[in-house]
């Protein structure tokens, strides 16, 4: 699909540039004429939305870093000073803190869309794997960022997460001390987390470049999960998808703005407006919502090391999906059995998130949540390692349309005899 370039330099300057640094050609081929399946739905706009989120986080983050002080004694007050004394500091900080939640909301929709339509299957395995890498980098960045305001949850969240490394036999304690730069979470930890929090978004931006580059070789998958067969199946990216992405991005920004302006602390924890105090442990240490499913897995396993392995395994599993799915058909639209297991997986993830948000000994309708989390964790693993390989072999897919154009435009447009 990347095909031969259709770029024609229009002026002497463009001709001069094209033989030296063909930047206009690159832009022309990748965001102007790039042939894109004509049947992409709303769920395919989240790539643009995520790019926007990354941009917002980087721009607001750079401004915040101009005012923030990475020092255990001053960090909390410096954030409060941003909220009170810096012109529009409240806006920049609320955009950044809510932006993290919106970023994860978008990335989860993007990932579930990829799972549903089989976007990880050949020839797009690397796009998926690079995407998993971005997701892991995002979690690391968000975790470092949550520590920076140096509130109670910042401090205790950092303590809980970094202590996970101490579960590793023999070298664990040493690794934890090395990560802290001290014998507990403290000033040295805060400083290195700030440094890494500033660094990682640029690495993410670089990996996003690879993600898009890898996407532009085979081109987009689509809700039908079938390959593009003729030029009739596609439309040029601009203006068709630039305008569609812009419209849905604006709807997303409206949701974003509702949180920033009318419920800026909705995703936050009140405890984080209390300065970190190593002597006072909050009754419930809860990570940010987007990490809750993994937190629930960790807590549902009685043995700490096993818990860490199960949690890490859940992330590593994602890398193998392209080879765990044995089906010839990409899209769940034509996979009646897989579709049901997919929604079961979505329910398991939400259930895990809910379990993670409640206290360890909580129960609902007499069922201890720790058992709900165990069942959901089992389903999470079973979905990838058992259901995906087996269903792909035993399932009879529905009849697949002959082409994208036929499906969208009807038989008149491109009608191979049925």
């Amino acid at each position: 699909m990347s095909g031969p370039s259709t770029y024609k330099p229009n002026s002497g300057f463009e001709r001069w540039l094209d033989t030296r640094l063909p930047l206009p050609r690159l832009l022309h081929d990748t965001i102007h004429t790039f042939p894109t399946p004509r049947n992409l739905n709303i769920w395919y706009t989240f790539g643009a939305i995520l790019t926007f989120c990354l941009g917002i986080q980087i721009v607001t983050g750079i401004v915040l870093a101009m005012h923030y002080v990475a020092n255990a004694g001053l960090a909390f007050d410096s954030v409060e000073s941003i909220m009170r004394d810096v012109n529009y500091g409240w806006l920049i900080r609320y955009m950044h803190s809510n932006g993290a939640s919106m970023f994860f909301l978008a990335v989860y929709i993007h990932m579930f869309r990829g799972l549903y339509y089989g976007s990880y299957k050949a020839p797009r395995e690397l796009i998926w794997i690079i995407g998993v890498l971005i997701y892991v980098l995002m979690m690391a960045t968000a975790f470092f960022g949550y520590v920076l305001p140096w509130g109670q949850m910042s401090f205790w969240g950092a303590t809980v997460i970094t202590n996970l490394f101490s579960a590793i036999p023999v070298v664990g304690k040493g690794i934890a001390t090395w990560l802290w730069g001290d014998f507990a979470v403290g000033d040295a930890t805060l400083n290195r987390f700030f440094s890494l929090h500033y660094l990682l978004p640029f690495i993410i931006a670089g990996v996003v470049g690879l993600h898009i580059w890898a996407l532009h070789v085979p081109g987009n998958n689509n809700p039908l999960g079938i390959d593009v067969k003729s030029p009739q199946d596609t439309v040029p990216f601009h203006p068709y998808y630039t305008v569609k992405d812009a419209f849905y991005l604006t709807l997303f920004v409206i949701l974003f703005a509702i949180f920033v302006f009318y419920a800026p602390n909705f995703f936050g924890n009140p405890d984080n407006y209390q300065q970190a105090n190593p002597l006072v442990t909050p009754p419930d240490i809860v990570p940010e919502w987007y990490l809750l499913p993994f937190y629930a897995m960790l807590r549902s396993i009685p043995n700490k090391l096993m818990g860490v392995i199960v949690m890490a395994g859940a992330m590593i599993t994602l890398v193998f999906i392209p080879w765990l799915d044995t089906s010839r058909v990409r899209s769940c639209r034509f996979r009646p059995l897989m579709k049901q297991f997919f929604w079961g997986f979505a329910v398991a993830c939400v259930a895990l998130g809910y379990c993670g948000s409640q206290s360890v000994d909580a129960s609902v309708a007499g069922i201890p949540l720790v058992w709900v989390a165990r069942v959901a964790t089992f389903y999470y693993y079973a979905f990838f390692w058992l259901i995906m390989p087996i269903v792909g072999l035993i399932e009879t897919p529905k009849k697949i349309p002959a082409s994208i154009a036929q499906s969208v435009l009807g038989d008149t447009a491109a009608a191979p005899a049925e």
């Binding site: 004509r38 007050d77 409060e80 909220m83 009170r84 409240w90 806006l91 609320y94 439309v235 203006p239 068709y240 305008v243 569609k244 812009a246 419209f247 604006t250 709807l251 920004v253 409206i254 703005a257 509702i258 920033v260 302006f261 009318y262 800026p264 602390n265 009140p270 405890d271 407006y273 209390q274 969208v408 435009l409």
Partner: protein
């Protein structure tokens, strides 16, 4: 030796008796989880809610005359008192309010922190000063409050679940009589809206604790409502600016979405 044995026996008998007595009283385990906060509403709720100026000004009076004896509000400066979206005292009023408060001024140009009589050097506050803390350090605060630390109030409303309702309930929740079987710890006070029901803070507000100059009747509920409004503003001083700005952003985004939707339909008209 014999004596010791007897006295030991007496002691153990006494202990046994004491335990027996305790056991015979209906000592069911009381659930001292805090009660849900009272359902009280405030002018600053909702997407268009603003702070009630009168309540903010009265609330500052309550903070100044009552709370500030034990609680700091260190993120507030006197110049905040005349800023838009806040109590909006006039600049002259804010200067006068600042001048009425002493702040530490040591060391002086001779390096002294106390005057000839040994009292710490102080001066009247200016608009640039932050509200002073009642105690020089955490240890002093604890020593003066039976070991409990009065929390800083500049963010207390944001730092608690349903903050405004919670703080209001604490201030008005000193019910006279604890339920049978609940023992109020010596030096603590009964307040069922506080986790564990034993709170270190004595009931701070009574009817008429302050005298409002605007003629508002100073009931406990009124005083609590006013000071909670003030503390909510202290937590979120840019709230009015935020909501006003947000409204403009919303109008813009909805118009933009409309224009983009029209373009989207037009561009795609021939592609379906």
């Amino acid at each position: 030796m014999r004596l010791t044995t007897i006295s030991l026996a007496t002691v153990s008998l006494g202990t046994l008796l004491a335990f027996g007595l305790l056991a015979s009283t209906p000592a069911m385990a009381l659930d001292t989880t805090r009660l849900a906060p009272k359902d009280v509403s405030f002018s600053f709720e909702g997407p268009f809610g603003t702070y009630d100026r009168g309540a903010l000004q009265r609330g500052y009076q309550v903070y100044k005359e009552v709370c500030s004896a034990c609680h700091s509000a260190q993120h507030l400066a006197f110049h905040n008192l005349d800023e838009p979206g806040g109590p909006e005292f006039t600049e002259a009023q804010a200067r006068a309010l600042a001048a009425a408060v002493k702040v530490p001024a040591g060391p002086n140009d001779r390096g002294e922190t106390v005057d000839d009589k040994g009292t710490p050097i102080s001066r009247s506050a200016t608009l640039a000063d932050h509200l002073p803390s009642p105690f020089p350090n955490e240890e002093a605060a604890r020593a003066n409050n039976g070991g409990a630390l009065p929390p800083d109030l500049s963010m207390v409303v944001k730092a608690r679940e349903s903050g405004p309702q919670y703080v209001y309930s604490i201030l008005t929740g000193f019910t006279a009589h604890p339920p049978a079987g609940f023992k109020v710890i010596d030096g603590k006070y009964f307040n069922p809206y506080f986790e564990g029901w034993n709170i270190g803070m004595p009931p701070p507000l009574k009817d008429g604790t302050v005298t409002y100059s605007d003629g508002t009747k100073a009931t406990v509920e009124q005083e609590a409502h006013d000071v909670v409004t003030f503390l909510a503003w202290a937590s979120e001083p840019k709230m009015e600016e935020r909501k006003r700005f947000g409204f403009g952003v919303m109008v813009f985004l909805i118009l933009l979405a409309g224009v983009l939707y029209a373009s989207y339909r037009k561009v795609w008209k021939d592609a379906h």
